[in-house]
């Protein structure tokens, strides 16, 4: 890893007193590789998380491209159905647990202490451990690809009994790797909660915290609540596979539907874990480039909390077709529809922030605006899916694939991209190359829509998800989707190029890199020195 930032250099410590003295009172630090293995610094660990996430984004992306290449035309051309199923499964697992979640944890590591004026995370050694569990977990997961019988092939939702009685032998390794990733998430969440509750700058009340901090606080509670449920359900699978129990095997008196209840009791809050921090990022970026304070700060906090609470009451909307009783269908339909209300409040607040602002379109803003539009489209299809009678037609089709990719790719992933462009000047001391970033943005927007928009049509017209081959009437939609995926996938190389260029040099950024930015992170120099806020800053509440 030839990364060399951020190195503490004396001349950076001129603007704030608290960043002074650099490393002088610390012990000799390990150099080279061991510096990264042993680091307890939130910025270095944040960087590790982000680089890990980027790597997994490309690994998961290659799996997606294998899937899209096979689906380019009807017929089986490139891969066998077994391998196709392994690719869809691994794509989902890697993207959810390996790319999006670690990216948000990385951003939290870097930015939460800077945004609340803390010197580091509250539990730095735990922080190091949480990170290093991830490479182990995902090496293990990826190694299942070369095991006899192949990698997990039962979809990222791993419904029993396909994932137990009928699963490949590698499933036990998959369970172990998911346990490790889960422990990493729980420890990371504990650390974030401890940091936010204990290390805020004097004078910063909870209702003064930036929304990224708020959304992450709520996300961390969600993680602590549901990761143990995931751990429980995969342990039950482990028992069914290896120790002769029958939790999910009907032949032994077990209940395959129980698996789905448990999985989605984890899984639905999980999808908000993947999107709430994105709301926080967008709520930071839009006010900055509209040069106007976020509209309805308090309602944003309440809306986030409402979404988090509701997320525990909607899980069975993933199960409308399993044969739930009518009252259960109605209950879960109504609660799911309710989620549209706080989500709508958020969108309205963002748009009202734009209204009568003074708007510019730097790369982070482009991604944040695309987020608002495309995430809202994903929200609309989500609302349609909530309507239980119609869901019998939508369920398990490409309409669902279109829906969750709209909220996860131009949703979560675009927000992560926006965050990277927004905070790169703080991390590296340089602005990202604007032209290249624009090229990345436009190729991504076009690629994403070409890929996922036609999936609404193929799904409505009757194409089930997770099939390696399809009837001829779906051919045109699939060809467009595959071309779009190729465009979107390759254009992410531009992103890597921008990041590398930005680390190496570029236009110098001042401490306050964006003129409309208000939060505490913009009070420390750019690049942020290795140690910041060793003396707590004085927090000034913005005047009303």
């Amino acid at each position: 890893m030839a990364f060399h930032f951020p190195k503490p250099t004396p001349q950076q410590n001129t603007t704030t007193a608290d960043a002074g003295l650099a490393d002088s009172h610390h012990h000799e630090r390990p150099r080279g590789l061991m510096r990264w293995v042993l680091t307890t610094n939130h910025k270095e660990i944040g960087t590790l998380y982000l680089l890990f996430s980027l790597t997994m984004f490309f690994v998961g992306g290659i799996f997606a491209l294998v899937v899209r290449a096979e689906l380019f035309q009807p017929g089986l051309q490139l891969v066998e159905p077994e391998f196709f199923n392994q690719m869809t499964t691994m794509h989902g697992l890697i993207m959810v647990f390996g790319a999006v979640m670690p990216a948000f944890v990385g951003l939290a590591n870097w930015m939460v202490p800077l945004q609340i004026g803390a010197p580091d995370m509250a539990l730095p050694r735990l922080n190091n451990f949480s990170f290093w569990l991830l490479p182990v977990a995902f090496t293990l997961l990826l190694s299942t690809l070369i095991m006899p019988g192949g990698a997990p092939n039962f979809g990222w939702t791993f419904y029993a009994p396909l994932s137990t009685t009928y699963a490949p032998p590698s499933t036990t390794f998959f369970i172990f790797s998911l346990h490790l990733a889960g422990i990493s998430s729980i420890l990371g969440a504990i650390n974030i909660i401890a940091t936010i509750l204990n290390l805020r700058a004097p004078g910063m009340r909870m209702m003064d915290m930036p929304l990224f901090v708020w959304t992450w606080l709520i996300t961390a509670f969600l993680l602590i609540a549901v990761m143990p449920v995931l751990a429980g359900v995969i342990t039950m699978m482990l028992m069914d596979i290896n120790f002769g129990t029958s939790f999910f095997s009907a032949a032994g008196g077990g209940d395959p539907v129980l698996f789905q209840h448990l999985f989605w009791f984890f899984g639905h809050p999980e999808v908000y874990i993947l999107i709430l921090p994105a709301f926080g990022i967008v709520s930071a970026i839009i006010p900055t480039f509209a040069r106007k304070r976020l509209f309805g700060y308090a309602s944003m906090v309440y809306a986030t909390a409402s979404i988090a609470i509701l997320s525990f009451l909607v899980w069975a909307h993933h199960m409308f077709a399993v044969g739930l009783p009518l009252v259960a269908e109605l209950f879960f339909m109504y609660t799911t529809m309710l989620i549209a209300v706080p989500t709508g409040v958020k969108v309205f607040n963002w748009i009202t922030t734009l209204f009568r602002g003074s708007i510019t379109f730097e790369p982070p803003m482009l991604f944040a605006l695309a987020f608002v539009v495309l995430f809202t489209i994903g929200g609309f299809s989500g609302l349609m899916l909530a309507i239980a009678p119609a869901d019998f037609q939508y369920h398990d089709t490409y309409f669902v694939v279109a829906h969750f990719h709209y909220v996860l790719v131009p949703g979560a992933v675009f927000a992560i991209m926006a965050a990277v462009y927004y905070w790169l000047p703080k991390w590296t001391g340089h602005y990202p190359h604007e032209r290249l970033a624009q090229v990345h943005f436009w190729l991504s927007v076009i690629g994403v829509n070409l890929t996922f928009f036609p999936m609404h049509f193929s799904g409505l017209a009757g194409m089930p998800r997770r099939i390696p081959d399809y009837a001829l009437q779906f051919a045109d939609f699939n060809m467009v989707s595959s071309l779009g995926a190729l465009l979107y996938g390759t254009s992410q190389l531009v992103f890597v190029l921008v990041v590398i260029k930005c680390v190496r040099g570029g236009k110098k950024a001042p401490a306050k890199a964006w003129d409309g930015a208000e939060d505490l992170e913009w009070s420390v120099p750019s690049p942020a020195p290795l140690h910041t806020f060793e003396t707590p800053p004085h927090f000034e509440r913005p005047a009303h």
């Binding site: 199923n85 748009i351 009568r356 602002g357 349609m384 089930p464 009837a471």
Partner: protein, 372 residues
Amino acid sequence: MRTLLVRVVAGLMLALISPLILANGWNMPIGVTALSSEIHSLHMTIFWICVAIGVVVFGVMFYSLFRYRRSKGAKAANFHEHTGVEVLWTAIPLLILVAMAVPATATLKNMYDTSDADIDVMVTGQQWRWRYEYLGEDVAYTSNMSTPREQISGESEKNENYLLEVDEPLVLPVDTKVRLLLTSDDVIHSWWVPELAVKQDAIPGFVNENWVRINEPGIYRGQCAELCGMDHGFMPVVVEAMEKDDYDVWLAERKAAAEQEAMGVDREWELAELMERGEQVYGSICASCHQVDGSGNPPAFPALAGNVQLLDDAQWHINTVLNGVSGSAMPAFRSTLNPVEIAAVVTYERNAWGNDAGDTVQPSEIVEMLEE
């Protein structure tokens, strides 16, 4: 740059709406049951509500982006909260949601009313075929995909109903309330025909209920909708709806054929006869895992050609077919195949692809084993 942004988004919005107005092949089918058209209109209602909200929300957004550009000298205003509008834009969506929930609730209640059905059909999912049993009629058969492998691999031209065609469709009369009872022998499957607006999971250990009353004769095609393993994509559902009189004739024929088959149990079968019948059964039931040439797909699906255990031990062989192998993908066929079919397929496996057991297994032997 900025106008380009506006144009691209406007273009996307148009792309969203126009094909759906054109419909047909781009949209949910209206279908051939009262419920399917009710669901379709529910779908369109929600869709247009979403479009309307989208037009307003994105309209305000793009107006703001356009009007309040700093490059055009916009100065930022200073407002940042207003309890009144927050209450308003919480309340209005709530009212819209209530308006959507009312018709949805009515339709859902209707979908759940499986009472007073005239015909009961048991639908059983198996990796990777459907089995249909007309309850009380002694008629049962499996329905396999009939698209040849050569079309899938691209060695021959794909026909019109590629992947959506079966050897024996589910035959139902029109204008008759049919109750479907769904279950599975192995993993979870989902029985789906878009034009009937029926999608219901088939779950091992559970019996789910759904119902359908088809208005028009015709052939309606769908697929398994729940990932069920390797050949999930090759598990079509085909329903042939016919006039009631035609259905009665068809049912009578099936019953007669079933009786004929039952009588075959008592007589002695020739090797050639069993081989011919066995090849049929093997092709529709066994070949998807063990391959047409018996080479299997180890380690999950062992080869049958040259399988020493199979050739040495006929009892073991029959037992495996009857009772399956627990903890593996090999299901028990004792209740899904009749004695003639089991005898035939075992005989075929023992004497095809160079296997040279030379013996026959008689249906009567199977009956004896089943009685034990």
